[in-house]
Symmetry: C2
Subunit: 393 residues, 2 copies
């Protein structure tokens, strides 16, 4: 089926079980699909934009209410929608980081956090992960001390992924935020894999910023996301424009500098809004998704030679696995080489793994039903056995 | 009709004639509607993302080809998609402007250009418009000289709107670019009202950057846009990351710093791509749209007291009109005050004007058929006559 001469219709989510690590939380809800059809046109949400002409004040559709709901959803005071979590990182880095400033990240920070720092000319310092791939408060405290010794001052900002993209591990957010605040370092929580997936309460965690991704974890179209903060920090990161035309004397009202004015003017925002009631509800069912995920993790771990690289027991559905001593051994002699696995999976209707990858790879079972994860578990074990690998009972 | 309990279905474009000044060029094509339904899910375009893991290298769907097509479409060498024209401004300002640097804009620059400058700490200098609201090369030369005298050096960047948002006037782009280059000032052409509407050839105009808006003028969902440049400047604005984790030693491949990595990962890009063949074709029919627009402009001008504030004859369908001495005189005594006009229009199925506005307002007839503009012209004249205003033959 085609959308146009050059564009195939995508039917991956309808026709297969997709365990792609980044796509699981971004599948649209049926309501979002309805909303993007009705609100697809460019500046569709601007029909009823009135003074002071800012996205978050629009009442019809209820964008203003949505902004309040979003802030409450992540336990913060103020929220704005942004074109992806990365644009939230950029806004916060743009507010606090000057050239040469030390900025704290971690050994598991996402590359977009590094780019946000690079954009400002900041100097990245990583809190090392421990041997279990966890970022701990003790390591944060040591690294902060080291930064103070080296730079004569603490970092200006600390980025911390609540769940990292490499292992899907949970880190010591609350404890690290406490340590950072002893140095007056504001803390940005990257909730790209958590906001919209599991309950997140920014104030309870003691962070200054919560960033979430619409297209990664809030069942929204790309690019979309949320940047939320406390009342105290809102005036900084959401500061309004002060620039003035030297000839015309023009000023630009209440437009927010780091937001570049309005952010999501149509389909992205409406998809996010339409999914939101479902997203708000689904985080309360996180334990079920986690339990489903464990079915598949256990099945993989039972294939001899397979090592789950993420923390165990799993506390997130994004998981890293090492099959060097299982599927990759098959690949060594299989006529399809490493492609035997993705090829066999595809025949069983399973997609989302990089074709050819048989060593270290990632998957995410979020959103799959119990029946689907059981099918998945059985499929992998079948492929293992068909290829001479033994599976523990 | 509703999309969800809280969200009405938008049917403005189906049920009315919409002359909103910013919405005209961003209505989706039927192909775009098909594409956004099929590709609505979050990271939908990432199914076949392979090394080196960058949006513009993806072959399926043909995103790589689209990038080449986009560059050619605006007569430049390299192009990237961005989340709105404003993010293109931000990327270019981020590349060239340091704190305290003089930056040239114009008395008709869009606020987002100012925000891009404010974000970098640059100092805005406006080239004044002339008495006809045109930005001329002579004024640019004078302002550049003044900048050199004041700052001891030329501005680091010049922003120029090909067609401005206030009057819809065309400015002396080619001549100003020539003057700017005498001072080695790179020129960014803001084509938010032109790219996708009329033929734009960046190299023929002699500019260094062409920025277009997907949701304003390329029949694409928001936020989307294009930033295109020359081979010479591409290495600067599309420079790849050099940052490195101090503990892990991690680097981040070919990700582009000003793009913050990938930009439009799903619905926005696919809508833009699906509309593109139509957009590429429609710019060749610009003269028809312009001729249609003139029908309405002439009809308005024939209402006694009405003054077209934009340059005449019109060279763009975005037009500013002053009805202080016509419709606003009616408003003074009408029981609905200024709302009589929008109310009467609404009854005739015409929307897109700010309710209550009877003094100075803007409209855009782009995309309307000859029958629609004739209806529009007749409707305004009827309302005028019904309210005691005379209409010239």
């Amino acid at each position: 089926m085609k959308c146009t001469d050059d564009i195939e219709a995508r039917d991956l989510e309808e026709m297969t079980i997709n365990i792609d690590p980044i796509q699981a939380g971004g599948r649209l809800t049926a309501d979002a699909m309805k909303a993007i059809i009705a609100w697809g046109d460019g500046y569709s949400v601007c029909d009823n934009c009135r003074k002071p002409f800012r996205l978050d004040y629009i009442e019809k559709p209820p964008i203003n209410v949505f902004h309040d709901d979003l802030a409450a959803f992540v336990g913060m005071d103020e929220a704005r929608v942004v074109p992806g979590a990365r644009r939230g990182f950029q806004a916060v880095a743009g507010t606090y980081v000057q050239k040469g400033d030390p900025v704290m990240l971690t050994g598991l920070s996402h590359y977009t956090e590094f780019l946000a720092v690079e954009n400002t000319g900041g100097v990245p310092l990583e809190i090392p992960k421990d041997e279990h791939n966890i970022i701990r408060a003790e390591a944060a405290a040591e690294k902060l001390e080291e930064a103070v010794r080296t730079f004569g001052r603490p970092p200006v900002l600390l980025f911390l992924d609540q769940v990292d993209y490499q292992y899907g591990n949970l880190h010591e957010v609350k404890e690290i935020a406490r340590v950072a605040h002893q140095y007056d370092v504001p803390v940005l929580l990257n909730g790209a894999y958590t906001v919209g997936i599991l309950p997140v309460d920014g104030k309870a965690l003691g962070v200054d910023f919560v960033v979430g991704s619409g297209h990664k974890s809030m069942a929204a179209p790309a690019p979309s996301g949320v940047l939320a903060t406390t009342a105290e920090r809102a005036d900084e990161v959401f500061r309004t424009t002060k620039i003035r035309g030297d000839v015309t004397g023009r000023t630009f009202g209440l437009k927010e500098v780091e937001m570049m004015g309005c952010t999501l003017m149509g389909v992205t925002l409406m998809g996010m809004m339409a999914s939101f009631p479902h997203v708000r509800e689904r985080v309360d069912h996180w334990e079920e998704h986690l339990a489903n995920g464990k079915v598949f993790v256990d099945a993989l771990a039972a294939i001899d030679g397979t090592v789950i690289k993420s923390e165990m027991p799993r506390r997130h559905t994004l998981t890293r696995v090492d099959t060097t001593a299982s599927f990759d051994r098959v690949a060594e002699t299989h006529k399809k080489r490493g492609f035997f696995l993705s090829s066999a999976l595809k025949k069983k209707g399973i997609v989302g793994v990089i074709p050819g990858a048989t060593k270290v790879w990632k998957f995410n079972t979020y959103g799959l039903s119990r029946a689907q994860v059981e099918y998945l578990a059985a499929a992998y074990q079948e492929i293992a056995e068909e290829n001479g690998l033994s599976v523990s009972a």
